[in-house]
């Protein structure tokens, strides 16, 4: 598309975003304000992630876009097409082939490698937002490292429910300093945030914030000594590829209570099936289509 600059945004805007990214990398977990632009998709559809991806893309990159772990969900298809159209870059569904992965709500099952960038779409970057609605207050709390309110909230969860009742967007502490919202990934994915070989970037378009985890940053999910953090998932194996360790989606198959469990990460599942793994309901590519 020659009517638009490479990857849609003009170069001055990309430079502004890159500066914000550099600052975010320099201060892991700190939310850097940036002058988020209106994008041709609505706020809430991933405008922050799209802007971060646009600022990082080079013509040599190979992009993978997932939503809920899957490459074929509507929003993932739409964003992938957007960059094919405006940047003309190569795309892939294979995690290990991608140089940049934009994601909504998941971290791929396959370990990421050095040189890869994982871009998260973030709706509410502020982990303290629902404890304190005012941005002026929460920025002060971060500045003073005043996180008592969060621990009280987690404690109240335990008092009321016997465990911490946060299943996704589970708060983490970055390199012993900033409490960070990992975006609404299931807490199953939280351990993958820490010591990750790839650069992890978080973009919140509507809220105008970028934050980052440089490679091999230490990320700890908040918990208590007597109530340690547990990464939870459905207690099943994938019905297609048989993996008992991957995060699963529950798919309703009929109106009589029938259901199956399948890997949320479609590439992970397809790769396993291609190499001969099979679950309860078979595993070959053909049977799954």
């Amino acid at each position: 598309m020659k009517d638009y600059n490479f990857a849609y945004l003009d170069e001055a805007t990309k430079r502004m975003i890159r500066r914000a990214i550099l600052k975010a990398v320099a201060v892991p977990g700190y939310q850097v304000p940036f002058a988020s632009r209106e994008m041709p998709m609505p706020y809430g559809w991933g405008t922050g992630g799209v802007q971060v991806t646009a600022a990082c893309l080079t013509p040599e990159d190979r992009l993978k876009v997932i939503d809920q772990g899957a490459d074929d969900t509507t929003n993932a298809v739409s964003i992938r097409k957007f960059f094919q159209r405006t940047a003309g870059i190569d795309v892939t569904e294979r995690t290990h082939e991608a140089t940049i992965i934009q994601t909504r709500h998941r971290i791929p099952e396959a370990p990421l490698t050095e040189g890869q960038i994982l871009v998260y779409q973030v709706p509410i970057p502020e982990p303290l937002r629902f404890l304190e609605p005012r941005e002026t207050e929460t920025r002060r709390m971060h500045a003073l490292e005043e996180y008592g309110l969060m621990h009280v909230k987690l404690y109240e969860d335990i008092a009321r429910n016997g465990e911490i009742a946060t299943a996704y967007a589970y708060p983490v502490k970055v390199q012993g300093r900033y409490v960070m919202d990992p975006s609404p990934i299931p807490k199953f994915d939280n351990p993958k945030l820490s010591d990750c070989a790839a650069l992890q970037l978080f973009g919140a378009g509507r809220e105008q914030r970028i934050y980052a985890l440089p490679p091999h940053t230490q990320v700890v999910s908040l918990d208590f000594d007597d109530h340690p953090f547990v990464a939870a998932k459905a207690p099943h194996a994938c019905d297609l590829c048989g993996d008992a360790a991957s995060y699963l989606d529950e798919v309703i198959t009929d109106d009589a209570g029938g259901r199956m469990f399948v890997c949320s990460d479609t590439d992970h599942c397809a790769t396993r099936r291609a190499s001969g793994h099979a679950g309860r309901l078979g595993g070959s590519e053909g049977a799954a289509a």
Partner: protein
């Protein structure tokens, strides 16, 4: 077999094709031209330009056509297009005092220098459906030709001369730009006004209305409302002079509000200000009420806890593109998060059942 999330790509293509067909409607009916929308839907075009923050009537009309008349969607198209435009510079401040007004009224005076000029207003129409408009092709009776007003004096200027209204000191400081810098709170008045100028008309209307009904009351009078064209001038450094590059239509509202004062300081009226691109007096009036309500602190008024007094509440929620995006995104898939909640609830329930059994 496992088909629930497959076929996203084909589904999107089909949905877009259906959308295009629905947009066109019955092909036996002639298609609307962009020029027709620009000329005959001028107030919608004005709103799209104002909240899209881009003064281009043809693009706004195109956006309305493409959006099937959904104005927020049209505003969104304009905002997204605006993102891609290079910025060459900033104009000189426009002089609304020199406006060629087609409408100029004051509610605070029966008559005043320059006169009350109603212009093309709905104000005094009877809201009766005009079935003659349904019979297309009827020749319109031409309006009596009235030249736009030349520069007319400002009502606030009259009050200022007597010291009756708070002075507005002139400033040449470059204004902040919220399309280039993230909004930081607390925001200066200039930044607040900029945010309100592109804010959602409906949101500002309701906030202003709430202030009229007692939630942050400011007792406003419309000192003056004027609509018309102003020249846009750009300074060319190489030439050392400014050059007019065109004219834009603006709506300006200045309210005169209840006074402040104390034993040591004599009473003075205070100001609220609204300025909107295009012809949109509802928005301009609402904006001036909200602006005035947000100034409670500098004017030493009490915080009554009213939403309209809370600049974070007002400024963070005034943008309809941000609002509609976040609101509507909840229809996107969330099943991964839902799945994790499902597991949690089951686990909690199982735990509770076990406890009950013991």
């Amino acid at each position: 077999m496992y088909v629930a999330v497959k076929g996203g790509e084909q589904a999107i293509d089909n949905a877009h094709a259906w959308l295009a067909e629905s947009r066109r409607g019955d092909v036996a009916i002639p298609e609307l031209s962009v020029a027709q929308i620009r000329e005959q839907m001028a107030l919608a075009v004005g709103r799209v330009m104002a909240e899209g923050s881009l003064y281009d009537a043809d693009l706004a009309a195109l956006a309305i056509k493409q959006a099937r008349g959904d104005l927020i969607e049209a505003i969104f198209l304009i905002r997204a297009y605006r993102t891609t435009l290079p910025r060459f510079g900033a104009s000189r401040p426009v002089d609304t005092g020199a406006m060629a007004a087609i409408r100029r009224i004051s509610a605070t005076y029966k008559d005043l220098p320059g006169g009350q000029v109603l212009g093309p207003t709905f104000d005094y129409t009877h809201r009766l459906l005009d079935f003659a408009l349904a019979a297309e092709g009827a020749a319109e009776s031409p309006a009596p030709q009235a030249a736009a007003l030349g520069p007319v004096p400002r009502v606030t200027g009259f009050l200022d001369r007597e010291g009756l209204i708070e002075p507005e000191p002139a400033s040449d400081a470059p204004p902040p730009d919220l399309t280039r810098e993230p909004l930081e709170l607390p925001a200066s008045r200039a930044l607040r006004l900029q945010s309100l100028a592109r804010g959602d008309e409906g949101f500002l209307l309701s906030l202003a209305y709430s202030s009229q009904r007692g939630f942050g009351r400011t007792h406003p009078f419309v000192g003056e409302l004027r609509i018309g064209e102003v020249m846009v001038e750009v300074e060319i450094p190489e030439l050392g002079l400014s050059v007019a590059i065109g004219a834009i239509t603006l709506t300006e509202c200045e309210t005169v509000n209840q006074f402040t004062g104390s034993k040591t300081q004599p009473a003075q009226f205070t100001r609220g200000y609204g300025l909107v691109m295009g012809q949109s007096e509802r928005k301009a009036i609402a904006m001036s009420l909200v602006d005035r309500a947000l100034r409670w602190q500098e004017l030493g008024e009490e915080d009554t806890g009213a939403p309209v007094q809370d600049q974070e509440f007002v400024l963070m929620h005034a943008d309809n593109i941000q609002a509609t995006g976040f609101l509507e995104h909840i229809k996107l898939p969330h099943y991964v998060d839902f799945q994790s909640e499902l597991e949690l609830v089951r686990r909690l329930r199982a735990g509770a059942a076990q406890e009950a059994a013991e």
